[in-house]
């Protein structure tokens, strides 16, 4: 103390400021990158949606709301929004329902359940592009695994990737296959936090297995259900790799989702204004859906 007191005043002031300077030094690169590559593009994307531009020429033409009026009056965009919602609803529903079922199985005292958990989670870490290519061969209408299995059952294989009716179910199956393990592991973690005496109490009250599931398990899992609903919805609405590799949005736009449309309009057709319009609409749909979920669903979540 006495030693410190003898020090001249100015350096102590500087000493006191060092941690603040360090804070800026530590955090500045990340803040700069976030501004440059996340927040700026968000604003820029909205701005570009009011222009006509081909990505290359120096000249951008201001068109006001024309891209938006075009977008909302075009039946194709409505079809693509519908595709996006179908894909999202189907993959989110299937992933969560099957994931919950598998978590319940893994929560039983079965042998080899850790091995099973590892296997079920594995596809989640594999790249979407590679997964898509593997499944392209699996769905080969004549020489693929699926047709081989269907043959055994005497069912002729549909022409998966050339038939507009079957292409969407195909990408939904593949996407669900890849993400199943994620929901399983989250639900399993939730199941393991449920206190055993809740089940005992329900049993004493004479509740059967179904009623215990309905009145104890599901309410106790509501934080996981809420979390999964938000995260899987966000990722399903942004799915790109599998669709791009397997169908490129086809056949006849049957699997074209909004994200694929953004990519195609900008980088294949060079219509940046239209692409940015879709991107902006997509952003507000995602933001709105998330806020709605937080507003109306989180209230019903039981954070124990």
């Amino acid at each position: 103390m006495a030693h410190a007191a003898t020090r001249p005043r100015a350096p102590r002031e500087i000493q006191r400021l060092i941690p603040y300077a360090l804070f800026i030094l530590f955090i500045a690169p990340n803040i700069a990158l976030l501004v440059l590559f996340t927040y700026r593009p968000l604003v820029e994307s909205v701005r570009l949606s009011f222009y006509d531009w081909d990505l290359i020429s120096p000249q951008k033409t201001w068109v006001g709301f024309e891209n938006y009026t075009d977008y909302f009056s075009d039946p194709t965009s409505r079809y693509i929004i519908r595709n996006t919602l179908v894909f999202t609803a189907a993959t989110v529903g299937a992933t969560m329902a099957i994931g919950l079922g598998l978590a319940l199985l893994l929560n039983l005292q079965l042998r080899a359940r850790n091995l099973a958990r590892t296997v079920l989670f594995a596809p989640y870490v594999l790249g979407g592009a590679a997964i898509g290519i593997i499944w392209l061969f699996i769905f080969d209408p004549r020489f693929g695994l699926v047709s081989a299995l269907l043959d055994r059952l005497g069912i002729p294989s549909p022409n998966w990737y050339n038939d507009p009716n079957w292409a969407m179910p195909m990408v939904i199956i593949v996407y669900t296959w890849k993400n199943l393990g994620y929901a399983t592991v989250i639900y399993l973690a939730g199941l393991q936090t449920i206190p055993k005496d809740l089940y005992e109490a329900a049993r004493v009250d004479g509740a059967g297995a179904w009623s215990r599931f309905w009145h104890v398990t599901l309410p106790q899992l509501s934080p996981m259900t809420f979390f999964l609903l938000v995260t899987t919805m966000l990722s399903s609405m942004q799915a790109f790799d599998i669709i791009s590799v397997m169908t490129a949005g086809g056949p006849l736009d049957a699997t074209k989702t909004m994200v694929y449309q953004v990519y195609e309009e900008a980088f294949v057709r060079f219509r940046v204004g239209d692409a940015s319009t879709v991107a902006t609409v997509l952003f507000f749909i995602l933001l709105g859906a998330t806020l709605l979920q937080v507003r109306f669903l989180e209230r019903r979540v039981n954070y124990g």
């Binding site: 990340n30 593009p41 790249g127 592009a129 593997i134 952003f283």
Partner: protein
């Protein structure tokens, strides 16, 4: 834990134990679980066997489950039909550089937010994690334009730098740093440890498991990244494996599925190996946030 277990009547515990071992009642559960495992494993097995089949065998009905002879030639062909070695090096370089930058950025951001003083730190934290709400796909066009203006198309920095901003990783490390015991940090501070020394020799060593988790999920994400490398590379020189694999599929097409499958095996094996080796850490990291909110 122990007290509550002890307080349970002995009979109930025995019953529970007996129930878990009773095989008859568990048979349907085992069968369902087996079915799920088969559905996950079969497509991967199919890829593996096809990667070793001759072209003729692939196009013969009924399909064969085990290759007649192992045709390792498919792997060599996949390696040379497209510049696979180049893609491999590119993937390794961009994954290491990208994950390294993410790690440094995430750790420094979290350290600043937890241990360094600054006004309105909560707002700054909010600014960092609000980035999670911005879908990556919405940012691709302006980011591509910027990268192109910088002349970074077909460069490593073009692939790596836009992905170096960290939101989730900073969140993960902040949670970890907040959970460190206060006494240790205070003791180090009283000993006169500066912030750099504290970060390097106290905070980081104590956070090893969380760091490993962060590193692993970052590595997996960078290795698998498809859309961004697809946009910013259009020649073989800097193309990464996932994009290169689709190129292999286009060049070999539907005529040489064996070769394409061999390529797929080579792309997913590294990630699968990392996952099997460190699955506990990876699962923990990817599911973080669900339980704690």
């Amino acid at each position: 834990m122990t007290t509550s277990e002890l307080s349970l009547p002995v009979r109930t515990r025995r019953l529970a134990a007996a129930r878990s071992l009773l095989p008859l009642r568990a048979i349907p559960a085992y069968l369902l679980l087996l079915l799920a495992v088969v559905i996950i494993v079969l497509p991967l097995t199919w890829m593996l066997t096809a990667s070793l089949k001759t072209r003729q065998e692939i196009y013969t009905l009924p399909v064969s489950w085990v290759p007649e002879t192992f045709r390792w030639q498919n792997y060599r062909q996949a390696w040379t039909a497209v510049p696979f070695e180049r893609f491999f090096i590119n993937s390794v370089v961009t994954t290491i550089a990208g994950s390294g930058l993410e790690l440094i950025n995430g750790v420094l951001t979290a350290y600043a937010l937890v241990f360094l003083p600054f006004p309105k730190k909560n707002l700054i934290f909010l600014f960092v994690i609000a980035a999670l709400m911005v879908p990556f796909q919405v940012t691709i066009i302006p980011n591509y334009v910027l990268v192109a203006d910088l002349g970074w198309v077909n460069t490593y920095q073009g692939i790596v730098i836009p992905g170096a901003a960290v939101a989730f990783g900073a969140f993960l490390m902040r949670q970890q740093f907040l959970s460190l015991p206060r006494e240790v940090i205070e003791a180090a501070r009283i000993d006169g440890a500066g912030h750099l020394r504290m970060l390097w020799s106290i905070v980081l060593p104590m956070s090893r498991p969380a760091l490993v988790t962060f590193a692993l999920i970052s590595i997996v994400a960078k290795w698998n990244d498809y859309l961004w490398p697809l946009l910013v590379t259009n020649n073989d020189q800097h193309m990464t494996l996932p994009v290169g694999l689709t190129q292999l599929q286009h060049s070999e097409g539907s005529s040489e599925w064996g070769v394409v499958m061999a390529g797929a095996v080579m792309v997913i094996t590294p990630v699968l190996a990392v996952f099997l080796w460190a699955q506990r850490h990876i699962v923990q990291g990817l599911t973080a946030g669900s339980v704690k909110g």
